[in-house]
Amino acid sequence: MLKFPIYLDYSSTTPVDPRVAAKMIPYLTEHFGNPASRSHAFGWEAERAAEEAREQVAALLNADAKDIIWTSGATESNNLAIKGAAHFYAESKGRHIITVATEHKAVLDPFKELERQGFEATYLQPQENGLITIEQFRAALRPDTVLASVMAVNNEIGVIQPIAELGEICREKGVIFHVDAAQATGKMPIDLQKLKVDLMSLSAHKTYGPKGIGALYVRRKPRIRLEAQIHGGGHERGLRSGTLATHQIVGMGEAFRIAREEMATENERIRMLRDRLLQGIRDIEETYVNGDLEQRVPHNLNISFNYVEGESLIMATKDIAVSSGSACTSASLEPSYVLRALGRSDELAHSSIRFTIGRFTTEEEIAFTIKLLHEKLSKLRELSPLWEMYKDGVDLSTVQWAAH
């Protein structure tokens, strides 16, 4: 039986996997110790659990557990990586920083903060498919470039940036390379033995772990140094003070263990559902897929429906829980800056829906969604004067609108 609204917003956050929750609960009750307590068994058990989780998180990335720093989430990881590295290396390397216009706000806002402090930033404009090119990246580098930050997977359109190639260039030029991988873990293979990535931000709650926990991978070989952003008791090699939230750490470890073991088969099933959804709505006229379909994680489908109004589209589709842009900015009425950067018009950006499919999505849910979209779109367009004009062959871009 279907449960409404149908959850198709897995890139906003995922439910905690029941196996993860089961592993967390004992660390709220009987094993509640503070991992920093060195004088008794409660503390030792908490520390042991946190270290086991560190191994599990590292294993998904083929990284060394010693390179993993716990944080409160990917937003904090991004802040620590970007501000921490830029400040540490500004004196020796320079004050030019590079990122992409379609990054998450948790990268763009720290960049703006650095700009206010006298750093100079370059924001690369992606191509129409959402991807940046190697040549474009190489051309942006300067002798004083200290840091580049490029996300692995875009949160709105799911496209995969060429991290491996960008890493090679950064290593060659001595530029610190940070990757926001919040949307990538469990969705694509990541091998930090091969990738020349210096800093990588991770989140638990996009990969069936709890909210409130994330990590920053900080490479030690070659050694990357950071200025801490939260100071105190000196936890996490002095890079991030504050009592470790053991139960959340245990949850992230278990979530990443499950991801490592199951991602290959799970992603094939999710790809099949995504393709079915795309096939099912392709026959709806004037729909556009946003972002490259090949260089993309299987979970994401972002579609603009032309000639419908954004707000009424959301109202009409409230039986499915989807996002009309990034969750963090959906409160504002601005059209998605990611879709705008791809060259989409305000109208197409406004009338876009991001479907993100996950572990608990079923074939029935996808079938229902296809049916719902067909019904609602034909109804909305019946009422739309724009649709009527389009059908009459009026070129809407030439219409002079009267001011109210």
């Binding site: 609204p5 509640f32 937003t75 802040n79 709890p210 105190g232 003070s241």
Partner: protein, 387 residues
């Protein structure tokens, strides 16, 4: 083997059953992100608002004055660095016994042109009145004094200190770390605010809530620069997807702690009285005994017995206590707070902290005292032999 008796509640506490129950839905079907514009998101937003009201109610604040963080350390960083970065550098006055999560961000401000003024404490661990007044004459821009010390349990009358600053014409912003005070003493932010306190910091896991949630409670006139940017959550003062389960747990823990405040304190005070009586008989020196303290904390030293050693032995016979602050448990430096109180380094190295919780019993206190007596004799004999 059964678990040892836990008497280290100032380090962290077990999550109360009622708190766990409140949290569980957010670790299963209640999966929404409060920023999402659909029913899952709206349900999360409602739960977030309710938790904010619960936390605000526990400290007599308005819900809009509560900013959720990942814990007490982040909260202290946000207040001190956030406030300092929003004004011209000047003097930050802080007591000599502040927690590392206050002291360390304060030290970071030195690089931005700030000066630190350490305010002396007396032999009972109270802020020294004369030195506080003297510090005020230096016109600090920021003052930070904790409400309850994590080691000694000494209470500071921050309302009186703030009032004195205000009456003296000080224009400093006054912050108080209330992490160890919440759930142990009544906190009324409205009243404190009237007296001149502008911001408090709180933590969930010291009051039988989960680790991973804390808060800043701040007067809105106090301008704060966000320390974690990107997303605009918490009125743009603290970005990042809200830790729903922990925040809901924090709210539930606050409500439970308030309901339990009086009865809990009586129970704790009774246990502490017996413990201290027994300790004195064993020849222990109890720190800050002459000061007003929270009911759960006993900080003592048995002369000539190393604190670390005693704590290790106690663990082996089934009692989990601490030799000082948890964060610095790894190093064997004597407690900075005790040294600031004028305690000799030798005696400070003997310090042991017992911090009780509401689940401890008088029977456990008696058991602890019996074991302490035996261990004392054993360890003193060893000392005698080796010397």
């Amino acid at each position: 083997m059964s678990l040892p008796t836990y008497m280290d509640h100032n380090a962290t506490t077990p999550v109360a059953p009622v708190v766990l129950e409140a949290m569980l839905p957010f670790l299963s079907r209640q999966c929404g992100n409060p920023s999402s514009n659909h029913e899952y998101g709206r349900a999360a937003k409602r739960a977030l608002d309710e938790a904010r009201q619960q936390v605000a109610a526990a400290v007599g604040a308005h819900p809009t004055e509560v900013i959720f963080t990942s814990g007490g350390t982040e909260a202290n960083n946000l207040v001190l660095k956030g406030a300092a970065q929003a004004m011209k550098p000047g003097i930050l006055a802080l007591s000599a016994m502040e927690h590392p999560s206050v002291r360390s961000p304060a030290e970071q401000l030195l690089r931005q042109g700030w000066q630190l003024r350490s305010v002396a404490i007396d032999d009972q661990g109270r802020v020294d009145d004369d030195d506080f007044l003297s510090a005020l004459t230096e016109n600090p821009r920021l003052i930070s004094v904790m409400r309850v010390n994590n080691e000694t349990g000494t209470m500071q009358n921050v309302a009186a200190l703030a009032a004195r600053a205000k009456v003296g014409g000080s224009r400093a912003w006054f912050h108080s770390d209330c992490v160890q005070a919440l759930g142990k003493v009544a906190i009324d932010f409205r009243d404190l605010n009237r007296q001149g306190v502008h911001a408090l910091t709180l933590s969930a896991h010291k009051i039988h809530g989960p680790k991973g949630a804390g808060a800043v409670v701040a007067d809105k006139r106090l301008e704060l620069m966000p320390q974690i940017a990107g997303g605009g959550q918490e009125r743009d003062l603290r970005s990042g997807t809200e830790n729903m389960a922990a925040i809901v747990g924090f709210g539930a823990a606050c409500t439970a702690a308030m309901a339990d405040l009086e009865a809990g304190s009586l129970h704790l005070a009774r246990m502490r009285a017996e413990l201290e009586e027994g300790l004195v008989e064993l020849g222990a020196r109890i720190f800050s005994r002459g000061a007003e303290r929270v009911a759960n904390t006993v900080y003592f030293a048995i002369p000539d017995i190393d604190g670390e050693t005693l704590v290790g032995k106690l663990d082996r016979v089934g009692y989990a206590v601490s030799s000082g602050t948890t964060c610095s448990s790894a190093n064997h430096e004597p407690s900075a707070t005790l040294l600031a109180m004028g305690v000799s380094p030798e005696l400070a190295k003997s310090a042991v902290r017992v911090s009780l919780g509401r689940d401890n019993t008088l029977t456990q206190i008696h058991g602890l005292l019996e074991n302490l007596a035996a261990l004392r004799d054993q360890l003193l004999n060893l000392t005698a032999i080796s010397s």
